[in-house]
């Protein structure tokens, strides 16, 4: 049976909380989230593919990758790791960028706070997505939410999942 994905929206504090249980020990889930080779296998929802260019999973380090679409369209993204507590949590900023990692400032920064917890049946991941300021959320809503809503999964993914 597939584990349920819980999503809570908190529009007033500009946050989205995502929770999901896994039937695997927390150590394995941690590896899947923090090793480029594993991330490339699952991070992009099909038919998109995630392709890592560089990965340095350390505080101050960066994951530079692209989301490649079925027609070979590419969206480059970088994730900057701010704080890491091994096999427990990590905090990161995600941005759109170019192939060299130069941030595209026309898109807002998305903040990640990911927690990994052992459970009786395996593990649980709690993700909090938030945005730096009010303007950023307005931009995300104006650009991403509406457009994503009408354009469909692939584009929304490009807009929101950097």
């Amino acid at each position: 049976m597939t584990n349920k994905t819980e999503i809570l929206k908190d529009i007033s504090s500009r946050k989205l909380n995502i929770t999901r249980a896994f039937n695997a020990p927390v150590e394995k889930v941690w590896r899947a989230w923090t090793e480029a080779e594993q991330l490339d296998k699952w991070w992009a929802p099909r038919p998109w593919r995630a392709i890592t260019k560089t990965m340095d999973f350390t505080e101050g380090g960066m994951w530079l990758y692209c989301m490649a679409g079925p027609n070979d369209e590419k969206a480059w993204c970088r994730v900057d790791f701010k704080a890491i507590a091994p096999v427990k949590s990590f905090v990161a900023d995600a941005n759109f960028c170019d192939e060299e990692g130069a941030i595209d400032t026309s898109f807002p920064t998305m903040n990640w706070d990911n927690h990994f917890l052992p459970t009786d049946t395996g593990s649980k991941v709690e993700i909090t997505l938030s945005f730096d300021n009010e303007a950023d959320l307005e931009k995300i809503i104006q650009m991403g939410f509406k457009e994503g809503f009408s354009m469909g999964l692939e584009n929304l993914d490009e807009l929101l999942e950097a």
């Binding site: 007033s12 695997a24 394995k28 899947a32 699952w42 307005e138 939410f145 509406k146 994503g148 809503f149």
Partner: protein, 101 residues
């Protein structure tokens, strides 16, 4: 200017108004008392919310009451369903990766 539910919730004051109206219907004056801004500013936000069809008005005696248009707010939930679908697909792929790790 675009008028839809996403425009309605793009502004913090309008989100606060929607939160208040979600509890119960209110008159514009009663709403304005909750904000430090001018009544005109609050009226303008109510007007935008009405144009976005996020709120609708009902006459009750001499007073006009605004209430949340629940059907319109569901459009946000529809978007959220799309967002949820992305994460469900992604996590199912992660389930497969975990089996092989």
């Amino acid at each position: 200017m675009r008028r839809d539910i996403f425009q309605a919730i793009a502004d913090p004051t309008r989100r606060a108004i929607l939160t208040l109206l979600a509890i119960h219907a209110m008159t514009p004056n009663a709403l304005a008392e909750h904000f430090n801004t001018s009544r005109q500013a609050v009226s303008k936000h109510i007007q935008i919310l009405a144009e976005c069809e996020a709120v609708s008005q009902k006459q009750n005696g001499r007073e006009i009451y605004y209430h949340v248009n629940a059907n319109k707010m569901k459009e946000v939930d529809k978007w959220l369903d799309t967002f949820r679908k992305i994460w469900e697909d992604r996590f199912e792929q992660l389930d497969d990766v975990l089996k092989d790790l």
